[in-house]
């Protein structure tokens, strides 16, 4: 396996009608991969080159030639990297080998895969290609794998087949879930459409969110400055800020545009994106937590946002700057849409009805307003936040550890908090400011309850 692939018979590109058995051989990625990899960078370079060429009117072409040489070198490098990259699925393990000088061979045991996404960047979409992203448990994104690029149909098919292999045997009895078996039949199972975001509402919601508020402040400041100084030169100094704002808003809109959720045989299928289209499947039992977010202004319209936390690192490039953001199943939707989706995700929906005692007002006058928790034998729900109300549901079988915390003020007031930690650092449910006796009881009861839940559902 350490010998270069060029020494072997030519590797077939994946054909559309191959069965799982054929995956055992070595495959190459799609020949247009280098073009996609160079991707947006090349596109902007071409635009830049064209602009320079038009401006210079051919008076100094040596610069242009250097740029073209650099572009050619980049493409050649990409081509070599494509040539030495190959992948194989054998014995329940996906292997990706790459590298010309330093061979890099990575193995992904399919049973450990949390999710497989099909991602299409802008360039890939034009060429009809797609990228497979594998997510494994843990927060280290370097541990995830990428297969870029394959033809879109092949990527979708391969994703289905890998998922079929990755489902642990006892969990997929042939009679109980025949759809999970790979093959042509898997594509025929109809999806049940659950939600589709309305573009106009999404745009309005983003304008009315924090980015919109910041923009309004910036515009107000500019207006005041212009009114006071009477010169329009001041506007120029706000240009970078405005550009940053526009980019933020645009990035959010383009990544959430067209978000559609459908219930498929293997879980919830989430599809979103304007330019880069991402398709991912959220498998039942992989959901670590659900969060319902209701910002101040949205509440007036009855809008909310529903996010899920799935084990595994976030890899979507477009969202990297929004590290704290979770996957939004509903970027903006009505309360009833969110409730229907929550019912789809978790088997029972306890409401956060248990309010803290009134003396909490002394400790947390603002937080007190929405602070509440609730729970049943499987889920715990906690609500908090004043400006932005956040309600979090957590399945007890996913809880990693429990913490009881009592600060000095809480001790005075006879209060204590119980915090539930789940994998990652993005979601946590805090049962805050309960009477001390209740908190003690919770700490004694919840670990045992979680154990039972783990045995039953984990």
């Amino acid at each position: 396996m350490s010998s270069p692939p060029s020494a072997e018979p030519p590797l077939p590109a994946l054909r559309g009608d191959q069965a799982v058995a054929d995956l055992a051989g070595w495959h190459r990625l799609h020949p247009l991969t280098p073009v996609v990899r160079a991707g947006t960078r090349m596109l902007s370079l071409i635009v830049l080159l064209a602009g320079i060429a038009v401006l210079k009117q051919g008076q100094d072409s040596s610069q242009l030639i250097t740029d073209l040489v650099i572009l050619g070198l980049a493409l050649a490098g990409g081509f070599v990297s494509w040539l030495v990259t190959r992948w194989q699925v054998a014995g329940g393990v996906l292997r990706i080998e790459t590298g010309l000088i330093r061979r890099d061979s990575r193995r992904f045991p399919l049973t450990q895969i949390q999710a497989i996404d099909v991602v299409q960047t802008g360039v890939a979409r034009v060429l009809g290609l797609a990228e497979l992203q594998l997510r494994v448990a843990g927060s280290d994104s370097a541990r995830g794998g990428r297969l870029a690029c394959l033809r879109l149909a092949d990527a979708e098919r391969l994703r289905r087949e890998l998922l079929a292999i990755s489902v642990p045997q006892p969990a997929a009895p042939a009679a109980g879930q025949p759809e999970l078996r790979a093959g042509p039949g898997a594509a025929d199972v109809p999806e049940r459409r659950l939600f589709r975001v309305r573009p106009a509402r999404l745009a309005a919601a983003i304008v009315l969110s924090r980015a919109g508020a910041v923009a309004a402040i910036v515009i107000a400041v500019v207006a005041v400055v212009v009114a006071v100084t009477g010169s329009t030169v001041a506007i120029a100094s706000f240009f970078p800020v405005a550009l940053g704002l526009v980019l933020t808003v645009w990035r959010q809109y383009s990544s959430e545009h067209g978000t559609a959720v459908a219930a498929g045989p293997d879980g919830l299928r989430l599809r979103s994106g304007l330019i880069q289209v991402t398709a991912e499947t959220i498998r039942p039992g992989r959901v670590q937590g659900i969060r319902l977010v209701e910002p101040l202004i949205w509440r007036a319209f009855g809008w909310c946002r529903l996010e899920v936390d799935v084990a595994g690192p976030k890899q979507r490039r477009e969202n990297r700057s929004e590290g704290q953001r979770l996957r939004a199943l509903i970027p903006v939707g009505s309360r009833s849409e969110a409730e229907a989706m929550i019912a789809e995700l978790i088997s029972s929906q306890p409401a956060a009805r248990s309010r803290p005692p009134r003396r909490v007002r002394l400790k947390a006058p603002l937080l007190y307003h929405f602070l509440a928790w609730g729970g049943d034998e499987r889920y715990v729900v906690a609500a908090r936040g004043r400006i932005c109300r956040k309600t979090t549901w957590i399945p007890l079988e996913k809880v990693q550890s429990f913490r009881w915390v009592q600060g000095p003020v809480q001790r005075r007031l006879g209060l204590a908090s119980v915090l539930l930690d789940i994998a990652g650092r993005r979601v946590h449910a805090d049962i805050e400011d309960r009477p001390a006796a209740e908190a003690s009881q919770l700490l004694a009861r919840l670990p045992a309850q979680a154990r039972t839940a783990r045995a039953r559902f984990g």
Partner: protein, 166 residues
């Protein structure tokens, strides 16, 4: 003093709390001295550029602050405790902000034993338990090194026996 005495875990059998080695207090004192000493020295020299009185005052103030901190060390060290239950480990700590963590054995992903230079010279080690959650933060400082190794092996075996997926 201990959280259990204040009615935590009412109706539960009283837990057998174990505590770090008494030498942890000495380790903490050395650490405090190592911070306060040089800070007092540097502060004193800087102050002395203005006048000798200011320099002396700054140095004295830092030393007094160090001594005051020392008074709280004993309580903080005494607050550390852990209890092994059938299915999980409990760790408590803190005086001002009291914390008590419950970590199910099945959730432990790996266990570290570390020892800094001061701890090492006193034959102590810190045991750290890692779960998939970033916030878990369960550690027990100042264990005797043989005790730390024993506990680590014990927890690893328990973790393996009760391991649960994500």
């Amino acid at each position: 003093m201990s959280v259990t005495q204040k009615g935590l875990l009412v109706g539960q059998p009283e837990l057998a709390w174990q505590h770090p080695s008494p030498r942890l207090l000495r380790a903490r004192r050395i650490q405090t001295a190592l911070v306060a000493g040089p800070v007092a020295l540097v502060g004193g020299i800087c102050g002395a550029t203005a006048s000798a009185a200011v320099g002396g005052g700054v140095a004295a103030a830092v030393l007094v602050a160090g001594l005051a901190a020392e008074r709280f060390l004993a309580r903080r060290v005494a607050a550390w405790g852990f209890a092994e239950r059938d299915e999980d480990l409990m760790v408590r700590r803190g005086v001002l902000v009291r914390r008590l963590s419950v970590i199910p054995y099945g959730r432990m992903q790996f266990i570290d034993v570390t020892a800094g230079p001061i701890e090492r010279s006193l034959g102590l080690a810190t045991l750290r338990m890692h779960t998939a959650a970033a916030a878990s933060d369960a550690r027990i400082p100042g264990l005797d090194q043989p005790m730390a190794a024993k506990l680590r092996d014990q927890l690893a075996v328990l973790g393996q026996a009760q391991a649960a997926g994500l």
